[in-house]
Amino acid sequence: MTAALLDVADLTLRIPGAARPLLDSVSLSVAPGEVVALVGESGSGKSTTAKAALGLFPPGSTASGSVRFDGTEVLGLTGERLRAHRAGSVAMVHQDPRAALNPVRRVGDFLVERGASRSEAVELLASVGLPHPERRIRQRPHELSGGMLQRVVIAGALAAGPRLLLADEATSALDVTTQADILALLRELRAEHGLGLLFITHDLHLAAAYCDRVYVMYAGRVVESRTAEALFAAPAHPYTRGLLACSPTLGTHAPLHPIPGRPPSLADTHQGCPFVTRCDQASPSCETWQPEPLPLPDGGTASCIKDGVTHA
């Protein structure tokens, strides 16, 4: 395995007033050229984890652990160095492109602000497959469609020549065909520039099909970390199995099984495994066991002590 581009180790994030940490001992890594998925329901902490790579934390929060980018500790960056880190090495593609662009400014201003010159802005727009780029840079966001805007946002992310791209639900707000176009574009750009790509989604099927490795998050923790094939073939954590069982797949008519209950909120305290109240295989010991990633035979990890899940 090559040296990781992004290496998050044991990251714990607390905010005052919340009963549990926002993130609890999260560890993950992304290597150059690798596509890594971060999967979970809303509120599981996947976006918070991604933003940590930018040194962007919720107001009032305190962090412990480490977030290293190319060997540099991001948690220690402040002021101009933090700004340079955000402006140069890591770029984010947001979920809702319409919200990510200032509605009163022109598309060109958005790209120039992120380090492109006027002529580069036109080239960038062309490289993300936007027709008539010369005209686009003079238009305002409300004149463009959602798919076109997401291409603009991606162009903006590429403007500074980053090495890691964070795609935060980058395709969720788009219709299906546009979604496929954007996914193909991101893969293409990754290959072209040798980028690491952290792909955040709530869609486990999409993650398994699109990415090399997958991290599954639940209530601020990474509950399973596997290669995509291994995860899809034999999901280890009951939560991962539940996620796969509750989304429909093409060609089968298997009944859907929603996971009962709801994920714990920030106000809920719990001892032991956070999934215990929704788990169909829970045993009394689960209620006291402090979850930790346990190694799986194929090299992945899962935070579950049930028989048949871990063998190490």
Partner: protein, 283 residues
């Protein structure tokens, strides 16, 4: 633990300070001013209208604590007596505006339809006159004087109170108890006067406290322009006008003493008003 920088502007969290110290200080000052107004005859060293041209524009000293004006009248005595009209007149003005405004507001909310439309058109026309101009128009027609000023300003303050009452009454009228009384056959007038208005009284009272500072300022301004209190009154606004000529002669107290009194009372009322509206507005 690493301290996380919290970028400026990203925190919309507003710490709602209740500033009890400021409110306490302002409240104490107001209480003292009211006491002074009530006890003016006991506290004032001179009668407010004692003219003594031989001691014109005397500075501060043992004889006259705050000095005298150009007619030799003791400024402290005048300011103490002046507190009476300067405080009672805004009260009268707000009483007029409250009676008219609450009636119109409840009527507009209760009846809706054309009554509501007429009230809101009238309000629009009055709002077309900026600042004191509507009051000035009435004074232009009926002539200067304290009574005219109080009534005219009362009329000018009416739309604001009517608008506020209307919005409160609209939500009050939707409450189930109103329907319950209606089903029992109680008339609209009786429901409004016995139940709706008393239920709104706290909130409206809080709003009136907020308006008091502005009412006092407006009246003082009218008196200053010569439209309100007439000589030999010791109204603060009028005192500023009378004292202004002496400023160029280097005697600033005749204008500054009443001017400071106005500013002080208005500031205190604004501080207390915000607090009171907050307290009384909560049901």
């Amino acid at each position: 633990m690493t301290a996380i920088e919290t970028p400026a502007l990203s925190v919309p969290v507003r710490v709602r300070g209740r500033r009890p110290v400021g409110v306490l200080v302002a409240g104490t000052i107001l209480a003292l001013v009211v006491m002074a107004a009530v006890c003016a005859p006991l506290l004032a060293p001179y009668a407010p209208d004692t003219i003594d041209l031989s001691s014109s524009l005397v500075g501060t000293g043992r004889e006259h604590l705050l000095g005298t004006d150009s007619s030799g009248q003791d400024l402290l005595s005048r300011a103490l007596y002046g507190a009476r009209s300067s405080l009672i007149a805004p009260l009268a003005l707000l009483a007029v505006a409250a009676v008219l405004g609450v009636t119109l507001g409840v009527l507009a909310a209760w009846r809706g339809g054309w009554v509501d439309a007429v009230v809101s058109r009238l309000t629009d026309v009055m709002y077309a006159f900026p600042g004191l101009l509507f009051t000035v128009l009435i004074i232009a027609v009926f002539g200067a004087g304290m009574t005219t000023s109080v009534l005219a300003l009362g009329l000018a303050f009416t739309p604001t109170i009517a608008k506020y009452t209307r919005s409160l009454a609209l939500s009050e009228a939707r409450k189930p108890y109103v329907d319950a009384y209606r089903v029992q056959g109680m008339g609209g007038v009786r429901i409004c006067t016995w139940h709706v208005v008393p239920n709104l009284a706290r909130a409206i009272l809080g709003y009136l406290v907020v308006l008091f500072g502005e009412a006092l300022m407006s009246l003082a301004t009218l008196s200053y322009l010569g439209f309100g209190a007439q000589p030999p009154s010791s109204d603060w606004g009028l005192m500023v006008q009378e004292g202004q000529a002496a400023i160029v002669q280097g005697a600033m107290l005749p204008a500054l003493v009443p001017g400071t009194a106005i500013a002080l009372v208005v500031v205190c009322f604004n501080v207390v008003g915000v607090w009171a509206a907050d307290r009384l507005g909560r049901q």
